[in-house]
């Protein structure tokens, strides 16, 4: 009971504070129309998932830097991997009458109520990096993020072109049931269909280095001939490298390694020739997000799905790119 009262009191206080805040900073905002303020400055509320990995930290940094560059005022909140925190943050953005809300949903479902509130308040919503599962697509303007199927396909296409007699592929999957794991598997399988290449063993390494290492150790003993390792992220690939080395083989030569993500540690291994090919999964979507935000606030039509600009890296490209990698 006491907790309820304190929560209520805190909410009232917060509402009062934010009311003061918005009253002071933007008069145009209070008219209710989702237009940029008179001074042309757009305010964006961004609800981040949390700081779960290096990828996510890079994602946050990119959004903050791009906002500053684009002259957009950013209100940022960190949900610490909890949906209720994100919902609270979005509600407070609605009360503050920001011009546009962007967020990376922690989970896929349970957003309808709060998104409806945003819609009623005439505040456009942009999803980044992860999608929501809702029948009502009018709840958000657009979804900006990676196409995981395409990433898997790129990996498969490269292998097809550079197989060099390789046939047997082992796959290190991400966390069972996670969207990137399902889609990267599908894309890769589609790409290598109809060729000599086939996946002879596949297991989940939970996106972690120790997982990748342990699974690879077992594969090296139970699968008679392994030509290629396809790992759903860099970390599992790095674990696999350790296992391959311990088996007395040379990673990148005796066994080809393909991974997805292109974080710094992965790129270092790629530049050293221990990984052969990395498909980028780009966390630096800040610039694209700010462009979209400007368009949405100006009332322009935007496509409902925008794919992040992503590339791929070979060993040579990694050497030139590596000094610029921040994450």
């Amino acid at each position: 009971m006491l907790k309820k009262i304190t929560t209520a009191a805190a909410a009232v206080l917060l509402a009062a504070l934010t009311a003061c805040g918005s009253g002071g900073s933007g008069d145009a905002g209070s008219s209710g129309a989702p237009k940029a303020n008179d001074d042309g400055k757009i305010t964006m509320g961004f609800a981040q998932v949390g700081a779960e990995s290096g990828w996510r930290t890079a994602n946050t940094k990119s959004i903050q830097e791009s906002a500053e560059k684009a002259g957009i005022e950013l209100k940022f909140s960190d949900a610490q991997q909890k949906q209720e925190n994100q919902i609270k943050a979005i509600r407070s953005y609605i009360q503050q009458k920001v011009d546009v809300i962007a967020f990376s949903p922690v989970v896929e479902t349970g957003w309808d109520a709060v998104l409806l509130e945003a819609k009623r308040a005439n505040i456009p919503v942009i999803l980044t990096d992860r999608a929501v599962d809702s029948d009502d697509t009018s709840l958000y303007k657009t979804f900006l993020g990676s196409d995981f199927v395409e990433e898997g396909k790129k990996a498969g296409e490269w292998l097809k072109a550079n197989a060099g007699g390789a046939k047997n592929v082992v796959e290190l999957q991400g966390t069972t049931g996670a969207a990137p794991a399902i889609d990267r598997k599908k894309g890769f399988e589609d790409a290598i269909q109809g060729t000599d290449l086939k996946i002879v063993a596949t297991q989940t390494g939970d996106f972690t280095r120790s997982g990748g290492k342990q699974v690879m150790e077992a594969f090296l003993k139970s699968v008679p001939q392994i030509d290629v390792v396809y790992a759903h992220n860099d970390d599992m690939g790095l674990g696999a490298i350790e296992a391959i080395k311990a088996a007395g083989k040379v990673p990148g030569k005796d066994i080809k390694i393909i991974t997805v993500d292109a974080v710094k540690d992965g790129m270092t291994a790629l530049a050293a020739g221990e990984i052969n090919f990395i498909v980028e999964c780009n966390p630096l979507l800040g610039d694209q997000l700010m462009d979209l935000a400007k368009k949405v606030v100006a009332g322009e039509e935007v496509p409902p799905r925008v794919v992040t600009e992503e590339t791929t890296f070979t060993s040579e490209q990694a050497k030139t790119e590596l000094p610029n990698r921040k994450y």
């Binding site: 003993k221 139970s222 540690d265």
Partner: protein
């Protein structure tokens, strides 16, 4: 005692046999770059952290306690060590720092349980949740990769056999010696059966409980070093995730009672080996990831049923039914 260990042994042998049937070369061990190489060696090396944590857990459980924080403590140990090495520190100093910090965490757990009298499951839950946060703070949410040969030895190194399992077996031997060749084991069991009665009988229950939590934290710390050194990186989010559950399971499969007062170190060794063999089996015989957890659950349930009092009674009755 013999009867209690019979079924874990049967389960372990059955799992190994299953592997040999599917992969005939499963038992083959060869010399590779001066160390042994094979699936059995993998089981020993990857099972070493679980075994070590389970050893600490065995003593805690024997005092009728439980320590849920070991996974988080393991993550902290790896985080401290890798962060220190990455900032140019010496690997040995880094490991010393990690052990010292984890001993303090063990003191904290022991303090909550033995002095403040908080239920062990709640007292250690605090650190289980907060510990990952501490590890994340230390690593700033990043995976810290290090390149240090002496540190790599702890988890991935070999002295013919993997160094990790040698460490775990040494600790096992030491614990067996100290608790079974002195009265300490008996005192731990008596605290588990009835703390008040043992205190009235002159046993320092509080000191003993406090000590076992510190020991469990130290075991977790060394296991954390093995886990992170195995991949030369500290992952605050995933290192030692759910390992407390594996450790408790190993202890229970080994026939130690969760109600305290009775423990078996050999049983814990068997339990830890079964759990690691189970994981390796899943990878080796190629069970689809979607059904991995169900497969594991079936094996665990089978082992537990065999050991359960009801299971034993049914089998005894079955034997009696046969005319002598």
């Amino acid at each position: 005692m013999k009867n209690r260990l019979l079924w874990p042994v049967v389960a372990l042998v059955a799992l190994l046999m299953l592997n040999v049937v599917v992969t005939p070369s499963f038992f083959s061990v060869r010399l590779q770059d001066g160390h042994l190489y094979g699936s059995l060696i993998d089981i020993l090396r990857n099972g070493a952290p679980t075994l070590l944590i389970a050893l600490g857990m065995t003593l805690v459980i024997a005092t009728r306690g439980i320590d849920l924080s070991v996974g988080a403590v393991a993550a902290i140990a790896g985080a401290v060590t890798c962060t220190h090495i990455a900032s140019g520190g010496n690997a040995w100093v880094a490991m010393g720092l990690a052990l010292a910090l984890c001993a303090v965490l063990g003191l904290w757990n022991g303090f909550l349980v033995s002095v403040l009298g908080i239920q062990p499951i709640i007292a250690t839950l605090v650190l289980m949740t907060a510990g990952r946060g501490i590890a994340m703070l230390i690593t700033e949410g990043q995976i810290i990769t290090v390149n240090d040969d002496s540190y790599r030895q702890v988890g991935a190194g070999f002295l013919v056999l993997p160094i990790a399992i040698l460490i775990s077996l040494a600790v096992l031997g030491l614990v067996a010696l100290v608790t079974r060749r002195t009265a300490l084991g008996l005192l731990i069991e008596s605290v588990g059966v009835n703390p008040s009665a043992s205190r009235l009988a002159g046993v320092r229950a509080r000191t003993i409980i406090w000590t076992v939590y510190v020991f469990a934290a130290l075991c977790a710390a060394v296991a954390g070093l093995m886990i992170s050194s195995n991949v030369s990186a500290a992952d605050a989010n995933n290192a030692g995730l759910w390992i407390e559950m594996d450790a408790i399971l190993a202890v229970v499969i080994g026939g130690t009672s969760l109600a305290g007062g009775r423990y078996s170190l050999t049983g814990t060794l068997l339990g830890a080996l079964i759990i690691q063999t189970l994981t390796t089996t899943v990878y080796t015989i190629g069970i689809a990831p979607e059904i991995t957890l169900v497969f594991k659950a079936i094996v665990v349930i089978a082992v537990c049923l065999m050991q359960a009092p009801v299971g034993i009674r049914v089998r005894v009755r079955g034997k009696q039914g046969v005319p002598a």
